[in-house]
């Protein structure tokens, strides 16, 4: 690649054209983010609980909070984020093309995606695909959906799982595939489809925010896929991947150690060496990542630990009313587990 580029450079120089060429490779993402003073974060165009602009245009949600935590860790300020709303089809191309530094947009971790020039940070939400129907159809199980019309967004693992599930159960269906999330939801609530399918968390969010009568709609009990949703970065910038990965782990570790946004300052003086290392009061974990020692302290203080983020965006007090379930700490029977901070 370097050879190819240098022959090109030579050829261009011969023509006196050098200076117009766009560099083939941007510098490491961390330098770019620091120089810009802003993290560019790809988010969903609007999904309650994950990334959703409120009435003042301020973004909220679990995916948004992950970006805020990374911005706090890297730049010291959780508000130094520019959000780029992306459709399901645009998101991976936008990341590969370098338009965004991090994609935090309820994206499922799969082998194909991991192998095609992307790297996944730890899972921030363990989800699964489900089906929502109008109660008036009298359907109580996904096994009764033979012949149904299904509204689905294109280019998602959802579309593949849908086809797999109906094939495995020897049932037929008609997909209505619409790119924009708003339009898919509108088509479903207008009755164009019998079934709306996406991740269960998404269905809960859509039911809570889009349906005029949320009680008229039923999320069927079958969960037909594993959807580990994780932030994504470009393959090849290992330092940046480590930063995103360990920022997410820091949020989980903080919950495990009882560090919250409210007590982060006093926990700096905690007697527990584990807490001290986590918050950077002791050791040089931040420096190893190329960050300042207070990186994780800032993230937790400004954004909160994983448990706080979950409850604020998805938990019992929100319209989504989701249980922690698989997303509880490993100590409580869930899957949230951070490797040691040492």
């Amino acid at each position: 690649m370097s050879l190819r580029f240098s022959t090109m450079t030579a050829a261009l120089m011969a023509l006196g054209l050098i200076g117009m060429g766009g560099a083939a490779q941007a510098g490491p993402t961390l330098d770019a983010v620091k120089a810009r003073g802003q993290l560019v974060c790809g988010v969903n165009t609007g999904l309650a609980g994950f990334s959703n602009p409120d009435s003042q245009g301020k973004w909220t949600g679990l995916d948004v909070d992950v970006c805020r935590a990374v911005a706090a860790a890297v730049l010291g300020d959780a508000n130094k984020v520019r959000y780029t709303p992306l459709s399901a089809q645009q998101r991976l191309t936008a990341l590969q093309a370098g338009e965004i530094d991090i994609l935090s947009r309820n994206t499922t971790w799969s082998l194909t995606r991991d192998a095609q020039g992307l790297d996944f940070a730890p899972v921030t939400y363990y989800d699964g695909q489900g089906f929502m129907v109008n109660k008036s159809l009298g359907v109580t199980s996904a096994k009764q959906l033979d012949g149904a019309t299904v509204c689905v967004q294109p280019g998602t693992t959802t579309e593949l799982n849908l086809a797999d599930y109906f094939r495995a159960n020897n049932m037929s269906f008609k997909p209505v595939v619409i790119e924009a999330l708003d339009e898919v939801n509108a088509a479903f609530f207008a009755g164009r489809c019998d079934v709306l399918t996406t991740d269960v968390s998404g269905l809960a969010g859509i039911r809570a925010t889009v349906a005029t009568k949320p009680d008229d709609f039923l999320i069927l009990p079958e969960v037909v896929s594993k959807e580990p949703l994780a932030p994504v970065v470009r393959h090849g910038d290992d330092q940046w991947r480590d930063i995103v990965r360990w920022t997410v782990y820091a949020l989980v570790e903080a919950e495990e150690k009882g560090v919250t946004s409210a007590n982060a300052d006093e926990k700096l003086k905690s007697a527990d060496p584990g807490v001290q290392r986590l918050l950077g009061a002791q050791g040089d974990l931040g420096k190893l990542l190329g960050l300042e020692p207070q990186w994780s302290h800032r993230a937790v203080k400004q954004v909160g630990n994983y448990g706080e983020i979950f409850e604020r965006n998805l938990g019992k007090s929100t319209p989504l009313k989701l249980e922690r379930g698989l997303n509880a700490l490993w100590l409580n029977g869930g899957l949230m587990y951070a490797p040691p901070f040492r």
Binding site: Q25, A88, G147, T149, V176, R192, G236
Partner: protein
């Protein structure tokens, strides 16, 4: 007196200079293309993205809502692409025919001497061509899905015809050999009608007399298949029946296709109407007066004198409108019609091979547009004035 021998590489010779500049510009363009292409390939390789069209043979895994050929999720991407191309061609083909008919009618109506008719036509043109097409598609799709009842409360304006937010369901031909005989009879009817038209033309040239052609053609086109059907004692129909979630059987016009066709046809027809109007007005008024003076009726003046001359003005810009309609059909992705762009976008997202996917989209539209353009140019040459 002969010209002095020219120095072939003399830079003061304007022709040599022009060639030099052209060679330089061509070289720069080629170099720029090479730079972009090699840079893209290097970047793609660095990111570890696969390249090439090897994925076409792999299982697609997704379902497509509307298909002209048999397709299932177990079929390869290549077949999904074929389904997408056929869906694009279907919309473009039907759309071009309908837009031409509607555009011609509206264009002629704009020139009507009836105040109401020409004002209505003008209002249609101005309203439709000044609103973005995407908005019109959303409007038609919204009307069809929000405005119509669900399948269990479907409207039944005629027996066997159901209108619901799942689309228009019509009885279709059932699996019955009679239908192939009916189709054969229709084919024969078309051939006989063409022969009758040619014979009538020759007869008119010889004797100046004309037969009433319309009843003859209609009789051949409808009567022959009808007689065959009677002879076989009727053909079985596949009636749509409400079963489970939706109607099964029959023929379906989905809301997606209907909204897309309706939007494309009404929008493009507004432009074609203006082209038809300008084409007719480009024919000198003396032509009309002369034809009227010969005693031709107004309808025949239009059909035999004005339109053949107007077509020479109409065809080239109409070709552009046909191409626009074909390309605008890619807006289908917004309202869920599975055209080629929609299928290719899904493929890009699943394989990560955006460069190949976008190249395929461009190649398909280029091929369709160039073929259409070639066809229209051939027709344009055929109707052009022949110098004698």
């Amino acid at each position: 007196m002969s010209a002095p021998p020219r120095n072939r590489l003399n830079p003061n010779d304007p022709r040599v200079r022009a060639l030099l500049w052209q060679a330089l510009v061509l070289g720069l363009v080629a170099l720029g293309t090479w730079y972009l292409a090699s840079n893209t390939m290097a970047n793609v390789a660095r990111l570890g993205v696969a390249s090439g069209y090897g994925f076409l043979g792999r299982e697609a895994g997704f379902q497509i809502g509307e298909t002209l050929v048999a397709y299932g999720p177990q079929d390869p991407y290549a077949r999904a692409f074929l389904v997408g191309v056929l869906n694009t061609l279907k919309v473009a083909g039907i759309g071009i025919v309908l837009a031409t008919i509607l555009g011609t009618v509206v264009g002629i109506a704009r020139l009507s001497r009836n105040f109401l008719v020409n004002r209505l036509a003008a209002g249609y043109v101005e309203a439709l061509r000044n609103v973005p097409l995407l908005l019109q598609l959303f409007l038609w799709y919204g009307v069809l899905t929000e405005g119509l009842p669900g399948p269990r409360q479907a409207l039944e304006p005629l027996p066997g015809l159901f209108l619901s937010n799942r689309g228009l369901k019509l009885p279709g031909p059932a699996d019955d050999p009679t239908w192939s005989w009916v189709a054969a009879a229709f084919g024969l009817g078309v051939l006989l009608a063409l022969a009758a038209t040619a014979w009538n033309k020759g007869r008119q040239a010889r004797t100046g007399k004309r037969l009433p052609l319309l009843p003859i053609t209609l009789g051949l086109l409808l009567g022959l298949p009808g007689l065959v059907m009677l002879a076989f004692g009727g053909a079985a129909l596949d009636m749509p029946v409400l079963k489970g979630f939706n109607f099964q059987g029959g023929v379906t016009l989905t809301p997606e296709l209907a909204a897309l066709l309706f939007g494309l046809v009404t929008y493009t027809a507004a432009f074609i109407a203006e082209i038809v109007r300008s084409g007719i007005q480009a024919v000198g008024h003396g032509q009309t007066e002369a034809a009227l003076a010969l005693g031709l009726s107004r309808g025949r003046v239009l059909r035999l004198v004005v339109l053949p001359q107007a077509l020479r003005v109409i065809i080239p810009p109409t070709t552009s409108q046909f191409l626009n309609l074909t390309k605008n059909s890619s807006l289908a992705v917004a309202i869920g019609y599975p055209d080629f762009v929609s299928v290719a976008n899904t493929t890009i997202n699943q394989t990560g091979q955006a460069v190949e996917g976008v190249a395929a989209i461009m190649a398909v539209f280029l091929a369709v547009s160039l073929s259409l353009s070639a066809l229209m140019n051939w027709y344009n040459r055929r109707i052009a004035l022949v110098d004698r």
